[in-house]
């Protein structure tokens, strides 16, 4: 089984991207051999209230059993706690917040409050380091990338905080992992969408130094090709067991605790 934990539906504000509908996402998953997807609402990252996309996302996912919604919470808006509780009551398993794109300090009081709230509800919190290569972003797309220091700070807010970080590169992951206690780093999961393969072999190195238990299959599709993380794994010398953990086992274990 393969679970892509980093997918989205809806148009991208900064350029034309094909294949952003739920049907197109399903087709891309079929093309790449992906069984299930964790899905967020892409336009919402640029909305003043990204939570306005949650109902649409939940509805879209309700029609497709292979999709699992990852709704957004903006902890700088009034009454965000009620939205979070409502999502939990609707059986949502994970939520996301992209502070730099909301105009919030990534480790400011709002995000720290959200980290504590998700921890108390037993929900993992997903955050993206970036969505595009910084060298190609639209001139007006000026949100800072998520800093590694913010991940370390949020992790320390509550011993029950669990974070899923997407689009992080090798140096980001190393900085957080080795800048955290074993307990802290055991509560962080990383997708492999931005960790390069040969000849630099960043992913192989991280699997050796950190271990495979906290890496997840993630593509960033449709902003990026669905084929990429699987190509990356195909170029590794992985045991069947380790590959299975990255492709789905780690994600399922994470959800089992939600």
């Amino acid at each position: 089984m393969r679970i892509d934990v980093n997918t989205s539906v809806g148009s991208y504000p900064w350029r034309r991207v094909p294949g952003t509908s739920p049907d197109a996402l399903r087709a891309a998953m079929d093309r790449a051999g992906i069984d299930a997807a964790w899905v967020f609402h892409l336009p919402g990252i640029a909305w003043r209230d990204p939570m306005e996309g949650n109902r649409w996302l939940l509805d879209a996912c309700s029609h497709e059993p292979r999709f699992m919604p990852v709704p957004a919470i903006h902890p700088g808006l009034p009454d965000w706690e009620r939205e979070l509780e409502g999502l939990q009551q609707a059986a949502v398993r994970i939520v996301r917040a992209d502070a730099p794109w909301y105009g919030l300090a990534p480790a400011g009081p709002e995000m720290r409050s959200l980290a504590r709230a998700t921890a108390s509800l037993g929900l993992p919190l997903m955050m993206a380091v970036r969505f595009e290569d910084g060298r190609q972003r639209h001139p007006l797309d000026r949100a800072e990338e998520l800093p590694a220091a913010a991940v370390r700070t949020l992790m320390r807010e509550d011993p029950r905080v669990r974070l899923v970080i997407t689009h992080a590169d090798r140096s980001f992951i190393e900085e957080v992992h080795f800048g955290s206690t074993p307990d802290e780093s055991s509560r962080i999961w990383w997708d492999i969408s931005w960790v390069w393969g040969p000849p630099e072999d960043h992913l192989a190195l991280l699997l050796e130094t950190i271990g495979p238990a906290h890496f997840l299959l993630g593509s960033g599709q449709p902003l990026r090709l669905a084929e990429t993380p699987l190509a990356r794994l195909d170029l590794l010398d992985l045991s069947d067991d380790d590959r299975s953990r990255i492709e789905s086992g780690n994600a399922l274990a994470l959800l089992a605790r939600s």
Binding site: G19, E132, D133, R135, Q136, P199, L225
Partner: protein, 266 residues
């Protein structure tokens, strides 16, 4: 047959202590992907004794010698570009002559001088004489100067290409950073510019836009520093185009712009 037109090897006189591991990793991944030929360049001492994009003449000579040794080491897998620093005209032209005599098949222009600078003209004339295509390092839509390189974008490369219509130019790594849409708009009407698909960028829609801009006849497959993204793009392209067009991208286009006989079995 699969030709990778954008490859680099490291060496013992670079700052990278892991140079041998990286080269071995590249060869191992190439075998796994099914790459038949890798066309490679060495950029001086990779910053050890002179800047990567502004290599000294001594480092250029060393790099080209190392490149020739790599071709000797892998005679059935690797071909080479001659590297020059165009600020040293006589030296660069002599390197091209030595390279041609030593079996090199192309010219690599990195970022020592803007692509539309008249200083590059003698090198392009020599490339025409030797039958070399020119691989030009490109920053897709350069909006400012970047430290460590005199980077060029597609607009500047196309100015050079228009001055030398008999030479095939390769716009490097469309997925290698910057606004690739800007580059594709520019190269559309310049028939002697080919688009190298390498780079870490695997943006949704990028390959469709490449195809729309220049057609399958002007696309070249490559990897540069991320072979995993190269493999992903290859797999996507196979679904995007028919078998004949796919073969053009895999190797036929490359075989058509390098000197005849560069890739036995084509």
């Amino acid at each position: 047959m699969l030709i990778d037109v954008h490859v680099h090897f490291l060496h013992a006189q670079s700052p990278r202590g892991d140079w041998r591991l990286r080269n071995e990793s590249r060869m191992r991944a190439a075998a796994r992907i099914g790459i038949t030929w890798q066309v490679s360049s060495v950029l001086g001492t990779w910053g050890e004794r002179s800047p990567i994009y502004f290599p000294s003449p001594a480092d250029v000579t060393l790099a080209n010698e190392i490149q020739r040794q790599i071709v000797v080491q892998y005679p059935h897998q690797v071909r080479g570009y001659v590297v020059v620093n165009p600020n040293f005209i006589e030296h660069g032209l002599s390197e091209m002559i030595r390279g041609k005599a030593g079996g090199m098949i192309g010219l690599k222009l990195a970022a020592s001088r803007r692509a539309d600078d008249p200083l590059l003209d003698p090198f392009c004339e020599a490339a025409a004489q030797h039958g070399f295509p020119v691989l030009q390092h490109v920053w897709q839509h350069r909006r400012r100067e970047y430290p460590g390189q005199e980077a060029s974008d597609a607009v500047e490369l196309c100015r050079l290409a228009r001055r030398h219509p008999g030479v095939a130019f390769i716009l490097a790594h469309i997925g290698g950073g910057g606004d690739w849409l800007h580059s594709l708009r520019e190269v559309r009407r310049v028939p002697n510019v080919f688009v190298d698909l390498s780079g870490s960028g695997v943006d949704g829609g990028m390959l469709e836009q490449c195809l729309d801009a220049v057609g399958a006849e002007r696309l070249l497959w490559g990897t540069d520093l991320t072979m995993d993204t190269g493999l992903a793009k290859l797999r996507y392209l196979e679904r995007l185009m028919d078998a004949e067009a796919f073969d053009c991208v895999r190797y036929r286009n490359a075989a058509s712009i390098f000197p005849a006989g560069s890739f036995p079995e084509t």
